[in-house]
Amino acid sequence: MNIDTIRHFIKNEILDDPNACVDNDDDLLLTQVLDSLGIMRLVAYIEETWSLEIPAADVTLDNFSSLRQIDAYLACRTEDVQVATS
């Protein structure tokens, strides 16, 4: 599951706390899970893991403020890739 892969990265790499609790709908900004640097690291990780290029205009509150939104964005992008390659 993409959502769990991202959660794992956030907990282990960004928060450096494997026991942290990050729920799917938590506001990652207001709960201070992510700050500006954290967002940059997360975007770089997603780009590398899913071999995607995320345009600057896509790195927005609508796409990145909760795990569920990131998952939806990723689903949309990977679908694009599949359509383009099929």
Binding site: L15, L29, Q32, S36, A56, T60
Partner: protein
């Protein structure tokens, strides 16, 4: 000019341009008439609940229209507002509430959960809170039932307007006291410098506990302009931030270089119409010329000003940046001192430096702090006093910033003479970071040091040694530090070492640690490129 108290413009413009927008937030707005009425009601509510003249009132809120009501309501009641970062660790919040003897707090339901974690000796009266808590509270709805008549009190411009807390080297933050007089001076400097007009829409991008916000809120209302509050989440996403400038037709921005560099590099600026933006002010730390040049090219019609001034003496100098030559990477000067400011550049023996000789910048200005709250030790050493006529000496603030001045008259910033650093615009005392780490039982010694992040700012790193026989699970120290210091002050990386490098005099060699980190980074970079 309107009056000598910082909140006076609100009622002035409520009479003269009652329907003009005073505040705007996410497409909603509040007129001068409504802001005047709502802040009078809050002031009456505060006084009714026992607030005395010059009592401190905390503002513990996210950005929103109510934030403006809180600021002006407290001031109108004769109170002193104390901005509290809604993202700070609870322990730090508890410290400030106790240190500043805050028994009244304007907050919101969104932060009640954090407030409930506080164990306070006093339970503060809360305002703007409707949820049940153990503290007495008034909802905005209750506050609206108070009279909206103007308040009468005997405030003068030498009374305090706000106390702002910043990183302190002892491990606890310190509060800077600012008067109405100082705030009005700062506000008028800003309004005059950029020729503010009622049509201007000024971004409130910086958090309230950061002194750039004083320009945003107070300069704007000097001319009856509109303060556009930027939601915290928007400030974290450069593409949303540039979109917000466009949709809110923001004309003036005062922020830190980090925010502007991010916007220029990741803000999708080419997809936005940013023609409303006429003036960009920046401060807090140096702006690398190559990045500034790129932004100036992207915003060819805007003007740019480098504003310098510690929070103790805000905006004490500035420099209007001309078009930068492509090949010129000379650091941007901090310029000339603002009106109603005087300065000295002193060497280690407090002798005045001559042209070309680096020394510490000492500032005497109308914006100067009245000193640190309840810190006689700091007040004794942070100021340089020069005998004058009569009983009162001239007081200069020792900025700790090393500058040089050549015969062109411009001041140039060279660095710090102590352990304070700036990271993404935030002031951090590295001693405070070390104090947070060594407060963990397993840590024997800690060394925090700053490394250039390649984006014009500094990244904090730390190395620690452990007490004999102690071990630490991964992440333990980060978690511990996060409970003590704000997120921006957390080290990016904490390494555990068996010994810390030492100088010949036996002190921890933090410079060597920083050099090792830089060398390590270069090696990693080389490996990546193979």
């Amino acid at each position: 000019m309107i009056d000598f108290l910082i909140h006076s413009p609100i009622s002035h413009f409520a009479r003269n341009t009652p329907h003009h927008e005073a505040l705007s937030f996410r497409g909603e707005s509040m007129s001068y008439a409504s802001l005047d009425e709502a802040s009078n009601q809050l002031a009456h509510a505060l006084i009714h609940s026992g607030l005395g003249k010059q009592d401190r009132v905390g503002i513990y809120m996210y950005k929103g229209l109510d934030l403006g009501v809180a600021i002006y309501g407290i001031l109108k009641a004769g109170g002193v507002f104390v901005p509290l970062d809604p993202f700070m660790p609870v322990e730090r919040l508890a410290f400030i509430l106790a240190d500043c003897e805050i028994t009244h707090l304007v907050s919101s339901d969104a932060l009640v959960r954090t407030l409930s974690k506080l164990t306070l000796s006093l339970s503060p009266q809360l305002y703007g809170v409707s949820q049940d808590t153990s503290c007495p509270h008034l909802a905005w709805e209750d506050i609206r039932s108070f009279p909206s008549s103007a308040l009468k009190n005997q405030l003068i411009d030498q009374d305090l307007g706000y106390i702002m807390y910043t990183s302190g080297s002892t491990g606890n933050p310190k509060g800077m006291m600012h008067t109405h007089h100082g705030s009005v001076s700062y506000a008028r400097w800003g309004a005059l410098h950029v020729g503010l007009m009622a049509q201007d829409r000024v971004a409130s991008h910086a958090p309230l506990h950061f002194d750039l916000s004083i320009f945003d809120f107070f300069s704007t209302v000097q001319v009856g302009g509109t303060v556009v509050l930027v939601p915290e989440q928007v400030t974290k996403f450069p593409a949303n931030w540039s979109e917000y400038i466009q949709s809110e037709r923001i004309s003036i921005v005062f922020t830190v270089p980090f925010t502007l560099i991010e916007m220029q590099q990741r803000g999708a600026m080419e997809q936005r119409d940013l023609s409303s933006l006429r003036w960009v002010l920046f401060g807090g730390e140096p702006y690398p010329p190559k990045h500034l040049r790129a932004l100036m090219k992207a915003l060819p019609d805007a003007r740019f000003t480098n504003v310098y001034g510690p929070a103790e003496a805000p905006s004490c100098s500035c420099y209007d940046v001309p078009v930068l030559d492509d090949a010129d990477d000379t650091p941007i000067p901090i310029g000339t001192v603002s009106h109603n400011s005087a300065y000295l550049i002193l060497d280690d023996n407090d002798q005045e430096c001559s042209y070309g000789e680096p020394g510490e910048l000492c500032i005497r200005s109308s914006t100067l702090t009245k000193g640190y709250w309840k810190r006689p030790d700091l007040n004794a050493r942070a100021f340089y006093r020069v005998e004058s006529f009569g009983p009162f000496p001239h007081v200069f603030f020792r900025t700790g910033d090393v500058v040089v001045q050549y015969k062109d008259g411009l001041l140039r910033y060279l660095g710090r003479n102590d352990r304070m650093i700036k990271t993404r615009g935030h002031r951090v005392e590295l001693d405070e970071v070390e104090a947070a780490l060594t407060s963990h039982a397993a840590v024997s010694e800690a060394a925090a040091f700053a490394v250039d992040d390649g984006r014009g700012s500094k990244a904090i790193h730390a190395a620690v040694t452990l007490e004999d026989g102690k071990n630490l699970a991964s992440g333990t120290l980060h978690r511990h530090a996060r409970s003590k210091i704000p997120a921006y002050a957390l080290p990016l990386e904490i390494i555990v070492v068996s010994d810390l490098p030492r100088t010949s005099s036996g002190k921890i060699d933090r410079k060597r640690l920083a050099e090792q980190k830089v060398a390590e980074g270069m090696n990693e970079h080389r490996e990546e490129s193979f």
